[in-house]
């Protein structure tokens, strides 16, 4: 594969293909991942090329998918499982939290759990109930799991490779409304570390921190703010657990202001963690309290209301104005 512009979903597909080619122990598992290629076609063509033994259609049982993936990992395999939609992960939550996350510690390090759980997440595609949620904080709160979310095709490609190589369980949140966004992938590039944040745009007046689907919104907000003469720095956190606080700190020490943006409810969300840590680290550099923009403490609304619920350009810019007014 040469350098090319790929939709994010296709970049993940290419990454999975490469992993299957490279390591015979890598398996793809999930509902409809075979002939259909997944409901988002992320696994399109993989079963055809690697067979039903490597790309495994499973029964409709999420706990079963993750539970058997744990068993396969114990046998020396490296399963990459797909949960069809964010809201369907909860039947597997027990296996993820009580088993997958803790098995390495329980065995005092004697066994490893190289399992990747892919979850298409977030809203903005006009879906029905349970198809648009952002449960990342529920997983980030659990020690033993690593949580990541790419925002570009290049990151999707490389972060998936790195997640599969990791000996720890990785929850790979895929921003489903960015699946069709194209950007460049260089398969010969040397990727940075999986859990390091990226400065997506340099600026001097205020830092916007986001990940996954909200990075694009923040970049648009920065462009709009630039027209008003404001210079915003945009960070793509990439990793939700652990969080690269060093990069956030460096940015905030420069700008003095931080607004965290995510789709998930603000209450107990990842923004709360970032606000608290950065307040501890940058108390004397902050010119304003850390502000958060995100979803409400309400069930994800029906599709006709999701544009009100999801942070958009205006809500981000409103928070920017409030921060700059301090």
């Amino acid at each position: 594969m040469a350098v090319q512009k790929l939709p994010l979903a296709k970049a993940i597909n290419e990454s999975l293909r490469k992993a299957l080619e490279t390591d015979p122990k890598v398996l793809i598992m999930g509902e409809d991942v075979g002939k259909l290629g997944g409901v988002f076609r992320v696994t399109d063509g993989l079963q055809k090329d690697f067979g039903e033994g490597r790309v495994i259609d499973t029964p409709l049982a999420e706990s079963g998918i993750v539970g058997t993936a744990i068993g396969l990992a114990l046998r020396g395999y490296r399963p990459v499982v797909e949960i069809q939609f964010d809201g369907f992960v909860f039947p597997a939550y027990d296996q993820i939290v009580t088993q997958l996350a803790k098995m390495h510690a329980r065995a005092l390090g004697k066994i490893k759990m190289p399992v990747v759980i892919r979850i298409p997440y977030g809203g903005g595609i006009g879906a029905v109930e349970h198809h648009s949620e952002s449960p990342e904080a529920l997983f980030a709160h659990v020690a033993g799991l690593k949580i990541v979310s790419p925002s570009t095709s290049s990151d999707a490609y490389w972060m998936m490779q790195q997640a599969i190589l990791s000996d720890d369980p990785v929850i790979f949140f895929e921003p489903k409304r960015r699946y069709w966004d194209k950007s460049e992938v260089d398969p010969e590039a040397i990727p940075g570390p999986l859990h390091k944040a990226r400065v997506a745009l340099s600026g001097s007046d205020l830092t916007l921190a986001a990940y996954g689907p909200m990075v694009k919104v923040c970049l648009e907000a920065a462009a709009a703010a630039a027209e008003e003469g404001k210079s915003l720095e945009v960070l793509d956190l990439r990793s939700i657990s652990p969080i690269d606080f060093d990069t956030v700190q460096t940015s905030v020490e420069k700008t003095g202001r931080l607004v965290v943006v995510h789709e998930a409810p603000v209450f107990y969300g990842s923004g709360a963690e970032i606000a608290a840590r950065i307040t501890e680290r940058c108390f004397y550099q902050l010119e304003a309290p850390v502000l958060r923009v995100g979803g409400f403490h309400a069930p994800y609304p029906p599709a006709r209301l999701e544009d009100e619920y999801l942070p958009g350009l205006d809500r981000v810019l409103d928070a920017v104005d409030r921060s700059l007014a301090y």
Partner: protein, 392 residues
Amino acid sequence: MTVESTAPRKPRRSSGTKRTSARRTPQQQSSEPQLVQLLTPEGERVEHPEYEIDLTPEELRGLYRDMVLTRRFDAEATSLQRQGELGLWASLLGQEAAQIGSGRALHDDDYVFPTYREHGVAWVRGVDPTNLLGMFRGVNHGGWDPGTNNFHLYTIVIGSQTLHAVGYAMGVAKDGADSAVIAYFGDGASSQGDVAESFTFAAVYNAPVVFFCQNNQWAISEPTEKQMRVPLYQRAQGYGFPGVRVDGNDVLACLAVTRSALERARRGEGPMLVEAFTYRMGAHTTSDDPTKYRADEETESWRAKDPILRLRRLLEREGHADEAYFTGLEEESEALGKRVREAVRAMPDPDRLAIFDHVYADGSALVDEERAQFAAYQASFADSADSAEGGK
């Protein structure tokens, strides 16, 4: 809903045969199980058309020894809990035959996924019994390397391990290996969704796994009639693989049936459910009080089916063991008890900073940061002699 379906049900005897069993309550079914038995409570050998076993006197004595030593270990652990040396203990008293019989059916390269009560299975796998006590003493959550004896860590969440077993068995099949996997669980676990999902996956992928259910009649205080309306072993049929009920207090039957199920799995014929019909003579764990939820008469009726006593009767009846053998074994038991007692009391508390060990295989900046903060905090206590090293 149709009128028909809400109408009172009529007994269905259209075939003409009076199948009164269909009208029995689960309680009645439980008291009259149809099960595979090769050794009666009186210690007499009986034949079964499908399952046979031919053991040498030495092998019979071996099974007896396993059961006696396992019971002695279990009794010691219960005592240690009462003495405050263990925070909790889950006794296997009464289930020795189910565990030793099934465990001795395993090959070395078979893999075991236990719950938290499989002390007898651990024993036959060669896991040092003192290793089982760390989690009950509170010094770790398992601690042994599952790969050493192909004996996975104890699993506290009910039924979770059955899915791990199936996944592992799927891997065995992929590898083309001729080994099998066994998943232990209880009657209570059979109500869990994970067990149902494990049956589905095992059947669909024809996984070489044996589901070994020890139906000990009680899930803490919940009797089996609060868990099911049909005998457990019959559930397998709905998933497309065979199920069989075995006398769980008969070590010979447990060995023969499990051996057969494992061989079936190794031949690539897929999963099988073995329901060992047994009884938990003690409490669920040292935290509960069975006198609050079950009748003494029930427990007493099972005492007459004691798995160890019935094998002893066979050994004596057939002249396979003399008094010197039993005395020698008694001495060995006491030595085991002493070793366990001393090992537990000598078991050190872990280092404080062990909290941060093994959270991640690849490490984590967050864990490193919190470890350093906690170590510095500990070191700040000037009067603590060992605080500088971050020790306990």
